[in-house]
Amino acid sequence: MSFFVVQNYNRLLKLLGGFFVLFAVQTVHAASVTIACGASGSDVVNCQKYANDWAKKTGHTVKFYSPPNSSTEALALYRQLFAAKSADVDVLVMDIIWPGILKDHLLDLKPRAASEIEQHFPAIIANNTVEGRLLGLPWYTDAGLLYFRKDLLDKHKQKVPGTWEELLSVAKAILAAEKAAGNTELQGYVFQAKAYEGLSCNALEWVASFGGGSVVDGSGKVTVNNPMAAKALNFAASMVGEISPKGVLNYAEEDARGVFQSGKAIFMRNWPYAFALSQKGDSAVVGKVGVAPLPKVAGAAKGAAALGGWNMAVSKYSKAPDAAIDLALHMTSSAVQKARALEGSFNPTRPALYQDKDVIAGNFLMANLSGVLANASPRPTTVTGLKYPEVSQAFWDATHDVLSKKSTGEDAVKKLESKLNQIKRSKW
């Protein structure tokens, strides 16, 4: 009897051991990867779907982490996580302005992505390569665009404004006519002027299109204190309270989209993502929205659009780096980029997709965008490196002061110059 028990006991042990081995093998192969993506509703949908596909295909588990909506806050959060060497996030969606700031905490993707590199826009790959290491795989690219209400322009027999002056006069004319007809809710132009990174993009577009340079030039010299930059900021301030509600001073992308999409604005400055959303479901402006390049100044050859875009980066502190890189490769693959272009108007970073018939047919933005993307102005991130957040913040603070009429453009750029030199100290 006792023998029998012992024998059974041994068998039980073997069985248990077998389970453990099985379990252990499974955990080695099936890693759990956390991806931080999706700050807005459409982002979430268009990220989770493809990450889940990857999980199903590979047998790994994927977890989602929603970063803050504002890119400024998201960056701050990642810097805190990385300072603590946290493994909480494996794959993160990285703004094109971040590689210089996060360079010490990200894995080099070059070895695993060697065959991919040549299929993306070289400018983005160059932007993401710091000290010879590829820190992010391009996911989608962005540039500021002018959205307009086709129906309102047609109704009042106005043309799409090509210059800032025309934007002002067209908006004023339509507003006057619509107000007279009882539409008091309507606003002329909404953009992003809350004190955050988005305002730096808007301000860069004004300054660059007025011929005021790019705040800090390629050699690292602070160039913002010039009459054209001052004029650009003064012009922007003249729109606030005239064709733009004072509330824009607290608007981010989603606030502006909210106003425009509910039919309460004639013009909006936003990124391409807003287009697909404005044509969906409960939008009040389905079929009434047109998109054009942002205005230039009268007589200038071209306007300026801030270059945006997002990349997939992998944390150095990830516990499953192989699976994480695999997920990043999947998310930036041609198939996923194509699907996202069709469903979410996210612009591919692969030139080949701009020739793809389905993409051209399914997303009318593409035809307009190629020119805008080619001419987009990058923010002065490469030259300012780790200090870029401070530079950008000084820039948006100065702009916010001008827009809220606390300062004139001339005073603001002068003060900004001394502040930027103070941030720079001896070198960037």
């Binding site: 701050a76 010490d104 004190a195 509600p245 607290n250 909210g258 916010h400």
Partner: protein, 306 residues
């Protein structure tokens, strides 16, 4: 038990708490003070170097900075100090008045008093982040219900961008803080009111003294001490305000507080050194304010006793 063993036992009981304090308060606090004397950057804390008083009074420091061409009070740190002091004084002042009013009201006997008292506490019970976000939506210039109501009532001719306009943003923040903290003040004052002896009031009633006179000559002097304690709590709280302002107005220069500045330097810009120096200054400023307030309050209290 001798006195010595009693002391020993006391220390033994205190030890876990002291140890915990050491770990969760003394260590982080001293580390933060230490960072204030270094050039630490969040990117790599291990690489930080000792820079002495550079963060406080150096070329790029908080004070006596030669780059502040418009003077200290126009620099970012100066603006943050001004905003914070303005916010603290105005909001606490208003909260004392509204708190007193609500407490006097709740002190009266009326049917359903218990329910009203509970209901009054609701704003205080909502987490600040939540109430700040809630008010931000209500104060939204295009969709906000506040603009809608005021427009419909004919008070406003056009919509106001409450949280965005430089002239109204600070007042919006103060108003929300008053809304949120009035219950706290009212509760503390109400507690003081309930301990007051009834005989003074009966005597005043018999003598036919005007209720306002009773309030200023009897009630106010009697609740002065608890009131001052409540004011001090609120003042210390208001001096380190962060969440309300950050959520409602996103740290723009019209409303940025000292804590907001610290957060911006430390987290957004990664300058742990300068940020820690600023947070140490903030700590000292709060400490000095508390000290001055206690001294001043006692002084006046003893004068009243004369």
């Amino acid at each position: 038990m001798t006195k010595q063993t009693a002391t020993k036992t006391a220390w033994r009981f205190l030890a876990p708490m002291l140890l915990l304090m050491l770990v969760v308060a003394v260590w982080p606090l001293s580390r933060s003070v230490w960072f204030g004397f270094t050039d630490a950057n969040i990117n790599d804390l291990a690489a930080s170097k000792w820079v002495g008083m550079e963060n406080y009074v150096g070329e790029f420091g908080l004070m006596f900075n030669p780059n502040h061409s418009d003077g200290f009070w126009r620099s970012d740190w100066g603006i943050a100090i001004r905003n914070t002091l303005y916010f603290a004084v105005v909001s606490v002042g208003l909260e004392v008045l509204t708190g007193l009013a609500v407490a006097m009201l709740l002190h009266q006997d009326f049917p359903g008093r218990v329910w009203v008292r509970t209901a009054v506490l609701v704003p205080w019970a909502i987490p600040t982040i939540v109430s700040a976000k809630m008010w931000q939506w209500m104060l939204h210039d295009q969709f906000g219900i506040i603009n809608e109501l005021l427009l419909n009532a004919g008070v406003l001719a056009q919509k106001i961008a409450w949280t965005a306009d430089a002239s109204t943003s600070m007042w919006s923040v103060v108003a929300v803080d008053v809304w949120k903290t009035t219950p706290f003040m009212a509760l503390l004052i109400l507690a003081a009111l309930q301990t007051l002896p009834k005989d003074c009031y009966e005597a005043a009633k018999v003598d036919g003294v005007h209720p306002l006179r009773v309030f200023f000559k009897v009630t106010l002097p009697l609740i002065k001490m608890p009131l001052l304690v409540a004011v001090m709590f609120r003042l210390l709280d208001a001096l380190r305000v962060f969440d309300l302002i950050y959520v409602m107005t996103s740290n723009n220069s019209s409303t940025i507080s000292m804590s907001g500045f610290v957060r911006r330097e430390m987290v957004d810009n990664g300058n742990m050194g300068l940020g820690s120096a600023a947070s140490t200054s903030l700590f000292l400023l709060i400490f000095i304010s508390a000290f001055v307030f206690i001294k001043a309050a006692r002084l006046r209290f003893s004068e009243a006793a004369k």
